[in-house]
C-alpha cells in the first residue's frame, strides 16, 4: 500500500504548482496512471481523500487518466484483447519475445485550482 505515500507526493507537487501562482484551493488534480505502474487507481483515490482531509484542498478530486501498455510481436504484430495488467513478454500465438511499450506512466498532468483572496485583501 504505497498509494498513501504517492498521494502525499502528488499533493506536494500540485501545491507547488498552485503556490507559484498565488494562494488557491485545489479543485482537480489530473494524473496519468499506466497499466504497468503498480498503482491501483481506486486505492489512490482513497489515499487522496485521506491526504487532503482537513486541508484547504479537502473538496478536491483526483482524476485518473489510465494509460494502457502496448505489446507487439515481431511476427504477429500488436497483441490485442489481452487481460488488463498483463505483463507477459511472450507472444500468446507464436511464443516469441514481445516488445512492451508504454504503460509505466505515473505523472501529474494538470492542476485546476480556485484562486483565494489573500487574508485581509479587499474583494472586488
Amino acid at each position: 500500500m504505497h498509494e498513501m505515500g504517492l498521494a502525499i507526493e502528488i499533493r506536494r507537487i500540485a501545491r507547488e504548482a498552485v503556490a507559484s501562482r498565488g494562494p488557491g484551493r485545489i479543485e482537480i488534480v489530473r494524473i496519468a496512471v499506466g497499466e504497468l505502474s503498480a498503482v491501483e487507481p481506486d486505492l489512490l483515490g482513497f489515499a487522496w481523500a485521506a491526504a487532503v482531509a482537513g486541508t484547504e484542498d479537502a473538496a478536491s478530486k483526483l482524476e485518473v487518466d489510465f494509460r494502457p501498455a502496448r505489446q507487439t510481436c515481431t511476427a504477429c504484430g500488436e497483441i490485442a484483447g489481452r487481460a488488463p495488467g498483463s505483463w507477459l513478454r511472450l507472444c500468446p500465438r507464436c511464443g516469441d519475445a514481445l516488445t512492451v511499450s508504454g504503460g509505466d506512466d505515473l505523472d501529474v498532468l494538470r492542476v485546476v485550482f480556485e484562486e483565494s483572496v489573500p487574508a485581509g485583501g479587499a474583494g472586488s
Binding site: M1, H2, G5, L6, E9, I10, I13, A14, A17, V18, R21, G24, E27, I31, L36, S37, A38, V39, G85, S86, W87, L88, R89, L90, A97, L106, D107, V108, L109, R110, V111, V112, F113, E114, E115
Partner: protein
C-alpha cells in the same frame, strides 16, 4: 478556476535522489544490489552465506530495510560485514532518500565498498516502484511460497534482472513445481537470469556468487573504459 499544466513524474523526487546515489556508486565503483521478496523467503540468510563466501576477497556492506527491529543488521554484522538497519516505521518500501540518509549517517563504514546489498522491506509490490540507485534488482522466491508467485506479482518478476529461487533443499517436501516457476519467470522476463539455491546446503551458491563477481567486474571494466575514453 485556473488550469496549470504540470507534467511532472510523481516519483521525480525519488528519481533525482536515486540519480545522485547512482553517480556516487559509479564514482566509487560499488556494485549495488536491491533485494526484494516477500517476508521470510530468505533474503538475510542468502546475504549471510554470501558474506561468509566473499568477505575475504571483497569489501561488502548492507542496508537492511524493515518496519521494526535491528535483527537483520545484527545478523550481518555477526557475519563480519558492516550493516545498517533502516527502520521505515510502517512504510512498506525503501526509497532513495532513506538510503541516502542512512549512507550519509553511516559515513566511511559503508563508503567505497565493492558490493552494497540493499535488503528491501519484505513485500513483492511496493518496493518495485522505487529506484534506489541500484545496478539491478534481485527478486527471491522460496519454494515454500508456491510456483505461481511470478504471475501473481508480475511487476517485480519482470523488472528484476535476477530471480533467485531459494530453499531448494525443501523441494522434496513441498508441492513446488520448479518447471512451472521457471516458465513463469521466463514468460515475464525473457532476458533475466534465474538461479536456484539452497543457502542451507550450499547447492547453487556458486552460480549466485559468480553472478555477483561477474556483475562487479563488468561495472569496473565499464568504468575503466569510460575513464580511458573521457
Amino acid at each position: 478556476m485556473i488550469e496549470v499544466d504540470v507534467k511532472q513524474g510523481v516519483l521525480a523526487a525519488n528519481a533525482a535522489a536515486a540519480a545522485t546515489l547512482r553517480a556516487k556508486f559509479e564514482a566509487s565503483g560499488t556494485l549495488v544490489v536491491n533485494l526484494i521478496s516477500s517476508p521470510g523467503s530468505g533474503k538475510t540468510t542468502l546475504l549471510e552465506k554470501t558474506a561468509a563466501a566473499l568477505k575475504a576477497s571483497l569489501r561488502l556492506g548492507a542496508l537492511e530495510g524493515d518496519i521494526a527491529t535491528e535483527r537483520d543488521a545484527e545478523r550481518l554484522r555477526r557475519m563480519g560485514i558492516p550493516a545498517r538497519q533502516i527502520l521505515t516505521g510502517g512504510s512498506c518500501h525503501l526509497d532513495a532518500r532513506l538510503v541516502g540518509r542512512a549512507l550519509a549517517e553511516e559515513g566511511p563504514a559503508l563508503a567505497g565498498l565493492d558490493i552494497l546489498f540493499i535488503e528491501n522491506v519484505g513485500n513483492l509490490i511496493c518496493p518495485t516502484s522505487y529506484d534506489l540507485g541500484e545496478d539491478f534488482k534481485v527478486v527471491l522466491l522460496s519454494v515454500t511460497e508456491g510456483e505461481d508467485k511470478p504471475f501473481k506479482y508480475p511487476a517485480i518478476f519482470s523488472k528484476a534482472a535476477v530471480t533467485v529461487v531459494t530453499k531448494t533443499d525443501l523441494l522434496p517436501y513441498v508441492p513446488f513445481d520448479l518447471t512451472a516457476a521457471r516458465e513463469q519467470v521466463r514468460a515475464l522476463n525473457p532476458e533475466g537470469t534465474l538461479v536456484e539455491v539452497s543457502a542451507t546446503t550450499g547447492a547453487g551458491m556458486d552460480a549466485w556468487l559468480s553472478l555477483l563477481t561477474e556483475k562487479l567486474a563488468a561495472k569496473r571494466v565499464k568504468k575503466l573504459v569510460g575513464a580511458a575514453s573521457a
